[in-house]
């Protein structure tokens, strides 16, 4: 089983399409909605999809055939290790514990696979070492 994260972009015409329902019902993938937004431009949905590689591929093909723009997200945020002072301000802010303070070196590492792109860490970083790469 793998987990991949995607940004789905909908046009105003297809925002009413119940894609998450179909993904679960017909493609048997587990969907975790990370962020969602609808406005005049259409809609954007950030999801984590869990399933076998084949299931995910089929689900993505379905989305593309429904005119949903699909972008796989591999890196939500980036921590500039030269700018980072390893204070640890981000550690208690992150809801999914993607920042970890090493108990020996007292350095902060970022676990990309845990990140859900909430962005809460960005304005909590005093030296400004964290930048959002993917945004809704």
């Amino acid at each position: 089983m793998t987990i991949k994260k995607f940004l789905l972009t909908f046009t105003p015409d297809n925002v009413s399409e119940p894609v998450t329902y179909r993904l679960v019902k017909e493609f048997d993938v587990m969907i975790n909605i990370l962020r969602a937004e609808v406005d005049e431009q259409g809609g954007r949905l950030m999801i984590a999809m869990e399933g076998s590689g084949m299931q995910i591929d089929r689900a993505v093909k379905y989305l593309e055939s429904s005119n949903v723009q699909v972008q796989e997200l591999k890196e939500f945020i980036r921590k500039d290790d030269l700018r980072c002072t390893n204070c640890g301000a981000c550690v208690s802010i992150c809801p999914v514990r993607a920042f970890v303070m090493d108990s020996k070196s007292f350095k902060v590492s970022f676990l990309n696979e845990k990140c859900i792109a909430c962005g809460m860490c960005v304005d909590a970083c005093p030296p400004g070492a964290i930048r959002l790469r993917a945004q809704l």
């Binding site: 390893n86 640890g88 007292f106 030296p127």
Partner: protein, 388 residues
């Protein structure tokens, strides 16, 4: 067992001084005991790297042709104070641009200068017979100015409260982002590495003490602002904000590794400053002081939802609890974040240790002591009569 400054400096010069960091010495005392450790160790180095808002730098720009007596000064659009002689100014770390932008302030100007970047200088003046020029717009750098020295009125606080938030909304404070309903807690002391916690009554630290400041050799110049000696003590060290230092050092010898501009969202800018103080092991008492551990140093937990100077602490927690990643507040497990960098504090203590071992950093005996008995006053509304 007694040891003098002269003996220690003699050993440093001959390369024989035994120097340990405040973290390393804990293990030695645990293993060998106070008496043996005192005999073996000459100097213990400390370090801290945290947000120190009361920081800034004096700069003398040199005279223009024709000369100007600056009455308003901006450095990269950040106002600097120039109510001094013609071309002297003080740039404070917490000063912001006048458009309300909080992403760049005096702290960034200082970091840019240390990084050898050009900085735009604009100044206006009313013009005098001796200083006829009324405006100037030019670029300066650390190599074009006559003096540029950091003078920080309040650094290296001896302990500090832990911040949390009982309210329903996120608070943006100088203690960082505090999540609603005790969503997190932040603290800001290097604990067992922190300079003033290792010599709690400032027996060896006073005016004239040579220190590590931002990568340079600096000096303690005075008591820091809001210096107080009245905080309650536990295990011989204050619980909560107490003493602190006014320090001075040359920007030219500093490094951006140890001086870093910080932004606290919706609060403003601050300066991350690295301070390290070497502590001479004069006797067993001194060794006992420097070997205190995180588990024996406590800080009060304060609710920043209470917008008052008189916040009552919930309870006290030790630095080993804080560093474990969570503490308990009001029956809830609350995750903790440090705002001062322990990794940098260690690096500072190690850097200072190396400089002493290599004979580049000699210890100084204080010229005068800092106050032994001092309270902190409040600002209240008074009539003229009440204060006269």
């Amino acid at each position: 067992m007694k040891r003098t400054y002269e003996e220690i400096n003699q050993k440093i010069k001959s390369g024989d001084a035994v120097v340990l960091t405040a973290e390393e010495v804990i293990a030695i005392v645990d293993r060998d005991g106070i008496e043996k450790a005192t005999k073996e160790v000459d100097v213990v180095t400390t370090g801290t790297f945290g947000a120190m808002c009361s920081s800034g730098a004096f700069i003398n720009f040199g005279h223009s042709e024709p000369p100007i007596k600056m009455s308003k000064v901006w450095l990269n659009d950040v106002p600097a104070y120039t109510g001094l002689a013609a071309v002297d100014a003080y740039i404070g770390a917490a000063e912001l641009r006048e458009d309300g932008d909080m992403s760049y302030g005096g702290a960034h100007v200082i970091e840019d200068l240390i990084a050898r970047k050009p900085v735009r200088l604009r100044a206006t003046a009313y013009g005098t017979d001796c200083y006829p020029r009324k405006e100037i717009d030019t670029y300066i750098s650390l190599s074009t100015v006559n003096q540029a020295y950091m003078y920080n009125p309040r650094n290296a606080y001896q302990n500090y409260g832990v911040a949390t938030n009982s309210s329903e909304r996120t608070l943006f404070t100088y203690m960082g982002k505090l999540l609603p309903k005790y969503g997190n807690a932040t603290y800001s002391s290097a604990g067992q590495l922190s300079p003033l916690l290792k010599d709690p009554h400032l027996r060896t630290i006073g005016i004239g003490t040579r220190i590590f400041l931002g990568g340079a050799q600096g000096y303690v110049s005075w008591e820091g602002t809001q210096y107080r000696t009245t905080a309650a003590e536990r295990n011989g060290v204050p619980t909560g904000a107490s003493r602190n230092l006014a320090v001075v050092g040359d920007l030219r010898d500093m490094s951006t590794d140890f001086v870093r501009a910080l932004v606290f969202n919706k609060y403003g800018t601050s300066l991350g400053v690295g301070v390290g103080v070497p502590i001479p092991i004069l006797d067993e008492d001194m060794m006992r002081c420097v070997s205190i551990k995180d588990e024996d140093i406590f800080a009060p937990v304060l609710d920043y939802a209470v917008q008052s100077r008189g916040r009552k602490p919930f309870h006290e927690v030790s630095y080993s609890e804080l560093r474990s990643g969570s503490i308990e507040i009001a029956g809830k497990k609350v995750r903790t974040s440090s705002l001062s960098s322990y990794a940098k504090a260690k690096l500072i203590a190690e850097t200072l240790k190396r400089s002493i071992q290599q004979g580049e950093f000699l210890l100084t005996e204080k010229v005068a002591s800092l106050p032994e008995d001092q309270t902190q006053k409040n600002l209240d509304l008074h009539s003229r009569e009440e204060v006269s």
